[in-house]
Amino acid sequence: MENETQIKSHYLAPLKKFFSDVGRLVQFITAFFREVFLPPYEMNELARQSYAIGCRSLPLVGITGFIMGLVLTIQSRPTLVQFGAEAWLPAMVTVSIVREIGPVVTALICSGKVGSGIGAELASMKVTEQIDAMEVSGVNPFKYLVVTRVLSTTLMVPVLVIFSDVIALYGSYVGVNIKGDVNFRLFLSQVIEKLDFSDVMPAFAKTFFFGFAIGIIGCYKGYYSNSGTEGVGRSANSAVVLSSLLIFVIDMIAVQLTSLYYND
């Protein structure tokens, strides 16, 4: 009997906690979709958050994008040279960046920078009773804090991905010219020639889901943070871990759906 109780507490308790967390997250997402359409609309805060999330991430996303394009080009060249397909280098790198590497790497960077920031900020507001203070002053903290941040990440991550892709392609152009001599116009024409609608649109569409995942997980972890400074750190950390994981899951689903639709 005692053994049975031990087994229950050992195996069932974490399972119960997992399902309870999933249930609460679903409720949180439902609350977001309910509040997002109801007035009042916090446009000023939305603009402020979009600026903070979008503009302030530009340098980091730009630098990593440039390095991503440069390194991918340098690493791919020897293999393509071996097969006598060096001329395919710009096209191969372009398709890789636009379809997969650009969106995923940019989303992961945003998850680390923006997701952890949102998680830590809301958790610290929770710990210092700022969210309670909003609530008692008659302002809906969910609408003011959560809806604006989730909308901002959903709208800004796609913009950051486009920016990162463009910079990465410039990095690729630099990489091509380290051991070769291709002028920019030729490089650009090769890039545009090899890009299809089926490369660009599905890749662009999934970035909205990446942004939503980063925002909602960051907010969820911060909003339900446990009390204490330890809880702030844990919220920031788990926001990054969970949103990064979700980015890969969304990517996997998006790739499957795209290949089904286009019969790749």
Partner: protein, 259 residues
């Protein structure tokens, strides 16, 4: 005097500013898991009085005032304010009732990302009828009341503990509340600043004719601010009286707080 069962009642009668009841709490119960915090608490707040609530840590003092603004939902019982049971009202009505109440948090809970002025403006954001000039007038008046007019453009991180509490109080005053709930207003402050905050609470009470519930462990604060003191024990009101009555009490438990 309010007659509440199972409590120690001091011998002398109380001099209250008014008899009109602005808050009436009946048989309030709340538990967190298996821990019962409030177990049938009864309490009355009269118009214009400052009621100090004292008790051991974990006796449910802060839980009580959080139930009053519905930051926590009680398991059982009723809290009547402005003629309505706060446990029964819908979200819109609750927000309207909250506008008539101020809440000074223990940490002041100023919004870190906003200046002092923006902190004060924040509760007024849903007041569409207020003109810009009226908002500025209210902000200036609230800052003058707490003696910090020059702090309008400072960030909360630039303020001392006492200044943060004052700004927190100014933020509650901006909505011109009828009831103010103070959660340990002098905790973490030096004796001089703590006294200034206590005197400010009395000044606010007399100037705006507010009623207040003050949660505190600070005897000096209780002495300065209270018209009446209630002591909580085992989730219920155990004793009530004026500060001097309770201090002079021969009840061992009550007396131990004033030693």
């Amino acid at each position: 005097m309010e007659s509440i069962s199972n409590i120690y009642i001091p011998s002398e009668g109380l001099q209250l500013p008014g008899d009109e009841r602005v808050v009436e709490i009946k048989d309030l119960h709340i538990a967190f898991g298996s821990t019962k915090v409030l177990r049938g608490l009864n309490l009355v707040l009269h118009k214009g009085e400052n009621l100090v609530v004292m008790g051991k840590s974990g006796s449910g003092k802060s839980v009580l005032i959080k139930c009053m603004v519905r930051l926590l939902d009680a398991d059982k019982g009723s809290i009547e304010m402005f003629g309505k049971d706060i446990e029964q009202v819908d979200r819109d009505e609750l927000n309207e009732m909250r506008k008539k109440m101020g809440f000074l948090f223990q940490s002041a809970a100023l919004y870190d990302s906003m200046t002092v002025k923006e902190n004060l403006e924040f509760p007024l954001r849903n007041e569409k009828n207020l003109a810009e000039a009226e908002i500025n007038k209210r902000i200036t008046e609230a800052l003058e009341n707490v003696g910090l007019r020059e702090a309008a453009n400072k960030m909360p991180s630039e303020l001392s503990g006492g200044m943060r509490k004052r700004i927190g109080l100014a933020r509650t005053l901006i909505m011109k509340p009828q009831i103010i709930l103070y959660d340990e207003p002098t905790t973490g402050l030096d004796p001089v600043t703590a006294r200034e905050i206590s005197e400010l609470i009395v000044k606010v009470q007399s100037k705006y004719e507010t009623s207040g519930i003050i949660i505190t462990h600070d005897l000096e604060c209780a002495r300065i601010t209270s018209n009446r003191v209630v002591m909580l024990k085992d989730g219920k009101c155990y004793a009530e009286g004026t500060f001097d009555e309770l201090r002079g009490s021969d009840n061992k438990w009550v007396h131990s707080f004033f030693e």
